[in-house]
Symmetry: C2
Subunit: 335 residues, 2 copies
């Protein structure tokens, strides 16, 4: 069999996997935002009747995955792998959701890039002949992430203007070998880059170099230009990171144009007091599974590049004075 | 292309990936144990001249991966993916090692099952036609894990007799599409099972049901019996978990026999005050990459089943009163 590779970092699928269905569950703030109508379910509050935010997050993830299965109408016995990830220590949201789903489970960690990473790995498992269907689920929760990565939420500390707001949301996709729907045609797995940013309130800046590197390599590998895509969405750089990435790319001779945006910029309105925009695994997860999927299905977008962006630090690494390594993973979705 | 699946959970490789090389770096306690001579490098102490245990762990992982690359003599440009995982929050050991390696990076989390999980996923990426070579690295460090999951190490708290000792060690394998060496012929990705164990000092008991489930499904899928393997090594159940798994399997009609052992049982001597044995991602990583690889290459073992076992809890989930979900992933390695 020929190697399904192009250039240095990109894989091209021989039989592009199909996105058979998608489902999203979000918190109230996301529901009030400009994409509110694109989500399947909006919770009334952050806790949703559970005993902890962590339990809420895991149940949201489980609900999103069950929603994707139900929408596709595929029997669970035909789902060969569940791929999931979140931001919490040891991926507990995903692990506890996997306990309920009882499917063969692969846990992935790519911080906020986990949705794109899961789509890339899931597609390779299907196109490689190892699965009929792969279920993907990725979540984050504002309050579980805030208290783990930053400050006690009760403290109400003032946030920096370059800081992003962790999205409360869970998105799920069911990928299949056959069927109707948008197809994942190629993927570019990113390298870890670190430009010595050590401000945990400016993760957009920490991730922008890695996202730019992945976009440059992706375009080079496939001999494409940004204009070959109807939409290029990073997830999630926020307004600060998006501007920086645009600048870095321009200096490298790549003019991104107006179709370059960011899931963290799209999900909230500037009136929502989120400063630089949304972040967290759940952000690109629900923006892709919601509005982007709908726009592809409506024929409005023919070819989309989703570039997941991850900041690969931990609270411990920050306290120990390490800088924030970034990564970007890209997947191409075509109508 | 035909689906490369057998039964419910097992994938069988069409062109089994080759393990081209392996390399291990361990701490002093592991070096003093019965497998001391099988490791490539033994550090003199736990910190090895770094400013924190966390930095030490990441550098051990990096050193193991560089060691595997050097042993195989493969140019870095021909390595298409790096797959790595560890126990630390947000996988910082792997992320910082990936920053140095500068290879397209996929982060995996399966707790102590991460080595087997990485071997399974890496093999699918190669056999699926997406990579020429995949670099795998998995690590743990006693002191980074103890202070994250249990108690401040300075406290010197008395350990329970069923507790395991987190291994300080990093192991790496370089997998290739072609070449000489043992081959990974099939893999069984496990489901998350939870039998309501909530004692963080008895993770062997928490993981035993999931390991048993994976072994039963693996044998059923391939229509094999335990005696078809020269060695079945779980990693890491410890003495308590190994005995429990043997019992559960026996009740299910599977008699494992003397070739069923555990990486956590093999790595230390009972005189080393480790109670139930070794644990941590690094344990099955260095036991497989060290002694098991050497015994396969020497012709002593023809067919081995490595069953990685993971306890998928976090310090937060324990404090919130959750039980400990377990998982088991199996890979078959043949001479």
């Amino acid at each position: 069999m020929d190697l399904k590779r192009r250039g240095n970092q990109t894989v091209v699928f021989a039989n592009p996997p199909v996105i058979l269905s998608s489902y999203t569950v979000v918190g109230p703030k996301e529901g009030e935002g400009p994409l509110g109508k694109t989500f399947n379910k909006i919770q009334k509050d952050q806790i949703n009747g559970e005993k902890s935010w962590e339990v809420t997050e895991s149940k949201m993830l489980q609900e999103a995955m069950q929603g994707a299965i139900d929408q596709a109408g595929i029997p669970k016995e035909e789902i060969d792998f569940m791929l999931a990830g979140d931001l919490l220590n040891q991926l507990i949201s995903s692990n506890f959701a996997a306990r309920q789903m009882a499917l063969p489970f692969i846990g992935l960690y790519g911080a906020c890039s986990t949705m794109a990473l899961s789509m890339a790995v899931g597609s390779m498992l299907i196109d490689g002949g190892f699965a009929r269907h792969v279920l993907i689920g990725v979540s984050s929760h504002h309050d579980t992430a805030e208290r783990q990565f930053r400050l006690p939420t009760e403290q109400g500390a003032q946030r920096a203007m370059c800081a992003q707001w962790t999205v409360t949301g869970a998105g799920s996709l069911l990928l299949g070998k056959n069927g109707n729907g948008p197809r994942i045609t190629s993927a570019t797995i990113g390298r870890v880059l670190d430009f010595d940013v050590n401000d945990v309130n400016n993760m957009g800046a920490a991730m922008a170099p890695a996202v730019s590197d992945t976009i440059i390599n992706h375009l080079h590998d496939l001999q494409r230009k940004p204009q070959d895509y109807d939409l290029i969405a990073s997830g999630d750089l926020g307004t600060v990171g998006l501007a920086l990435a645009g600048e870095v790319l321009k200096k490298s001779g790549v003019n991104m144009g107006a179709q370059f945006t960011d899931c963290g910029v799209l999900i909230y309105d500037s009136s929502q007091d989120v400063h630089s925009g949304g972040s967290g695994c759940g952000c690109s997860s629900v923006v892709f599974s919601g509005t982007i999927m709908q726009r592809i299905k409506a024929g409005e977008l023919k070819r989309v590049l989703l570039v997941g962006s991850g900041a690969l630090h931990s609270a411990t690494s920050m306290l120990q004075g390490e800088s924030i390594p970034g990564i970007g993973h890209a997947v191409v979705i075509e109508a």
